[in-house]
Amino acid sequence: MPERSVTVRVNGRDRRAIVEPRLTLADFLRSHCRLTGTHLGCEHGVCGACTVLLDGEAVRSCLVFAVQADGAEVTTIEGIAEPDGQLSPVQAAFRDCHGLQCGYCTPGFVVSLTAYLRDHPDPSDEEIREALSGNLCRCTGYQGILKAARQAAAELGAGA
């Protein structure tokens, strides 16, 4: 099967590779860009661990082929903090509220919440729960994650 050239702007930097069309964006990020912060849990769209921003929107990178992202901009968990390393409000809230346990699901939660709170600055508790429902945590540490989401929402809302 013919391979194709793809160029994806990842965290502000153009990444070009020749890939098989069946390569997912998640595998492109991990294997070709060596950005292993994007985690793969189920690889068929259920767990949400691989969530990245594709042209600003939160998507499951295991359900996008790299060839579909040709010419697009992607932000991974590695691109969420400030360039000087200062944690984003969502990241800081996860640390403050014990929203991290084993850490495996964390990149997906942080990226999903970053997009959600950008679009919904003042969510209710129920809306936060619904927004997080597409991400699974096998440690079942959801209470800390919810608390982190509330703190990040309050902080982002206050800054707006």
Binding site: P21, R22, G48, L63, V67, Y116, G134
Partner: protein, 291 residues
């Protein structure tokens, strides 16, 4: 890499896309948002030699009012439908159904046309299209035609489209007057496919009599189902005198091939389905009466 190898095509016009489908026939599958197809490829439930990605075809996206209908391009993402004031005003049932699809990350990628063409009997859009009598606009290198939703869904994941045909748009008729709409579904976990559900619209006259009723069922057959007898049974009657549970029972009485699996027996699904119809009826009638 989990999916079997395939050759990738990325046409930029509908013409190019249908020419490719005409040339490749059965060996090709259309890739829209990929939120159903890519998991199926990853699990190797299916494989194709060619994928024709319609994601770069600009003329396939958009939401417009056209002659009392809401026209939605097949490539329009669920998130765009969810946020569209035109869709909310013209087909409230669709807007409400959209919020129940997967999770917001899935709705950022999944498309209206993809859901309809995939024709999963437990999905929301096929049931809404069937209930409202939507028109599905289909193009091939040979012709262009509009298929009524009632003639579109043929079986599990099967539509009446030929291999060289592409779904380009769907139009939903807008209801006017005193109308109410509701979607009710029951799933084990939020965002899962529903075990059973109902999408229901009702229209009342000034005296509170039912002038129109549409009931689409999901998860209760090999295709989405329409509860025609239950609909007919309420038309002309005073809405306040109708027993919601009776409509639920009647809607289930017509079903012939209710699926059974590890999530529930056919009998259980029917009981859930009847409850969902009853709930949707109650909500929709209250909304219509207040309109």
């Amino acid at each position: 890499m989990k999916p079997a190898p395939f050759e990738y095509h990325r046409p930029e016009t509908i013409e190019e896309a249908v020419a490719l489908l005409g040339e490749l026939g059965d060996a090709a599958k259309v890739l829209a948002g990929g939120q159903s197809l890519i998991p199926m490829l990853a699990l190797r439930l299916t494989a194709f030699d060619h994928l024709v990605d319609i994601g770069a075809i600009a003329e396939l996206t958009g939401i417009e009012r056209r002659d009392g209908q809401i026209w939605i391009g097949a490539g329009t993402r669920f998130a765009s439908v969810e946020a569209s004031p035109d869709a909310a005003a013209g087909v409230p049932l669709l807007t409400r159904a959209t919020r129940l699809i997967g999770h917001f990350q899935i709705r950022n990628r999944g498309t209206a046309g993809g859901s309809l063409a995939h024709a999963d009997p437990a999905a929301e859009y096929p049931a809404v299209a069937l209930a409202l009598g939507a028109g599905l606009h289909v193009r091939s290198p040979r012709s262009e035609r509009t298929v009524a939703a009632a003639d579109f869904f043929e079986g599990l994941w099967t539509t009446s489209m030929e291999p060289d045909e592409l779904l380009v748009a769907v139009s939903f008729p807008s209801w006017s007057g005193r109308c109410g709409f509701a979607v009710e579904e029951f799933a084990r976990r939020h965002g899962d496919f529903a075990i059973a559900g109902a999408a229901l619209g009702v229209q009342l006259d000034a005296r509170g009599r039912v002038t129109r009723c549409a009931i689409g069922l999901l998860g209760l057959g090999a295709t989405p189902e329409r509860a025609g007898r239950a609909e007919e049974s309420v038309v002309g009657r005073a809405a306040g005198e109708i027993d919601a549970e009776e409509i639920g029972r009647l809607a289930m009485a017509e079903l012939e091939s209710v699926p059974a699996d590890l999530h529930g027996s056919a009998q259980y699904r029917k009981r859930v389905g009847a409850a969902m119809v009853a709930r949707a009826w109650a909500t929709a009638v209250t909304e219509a009466a207040d309109a």
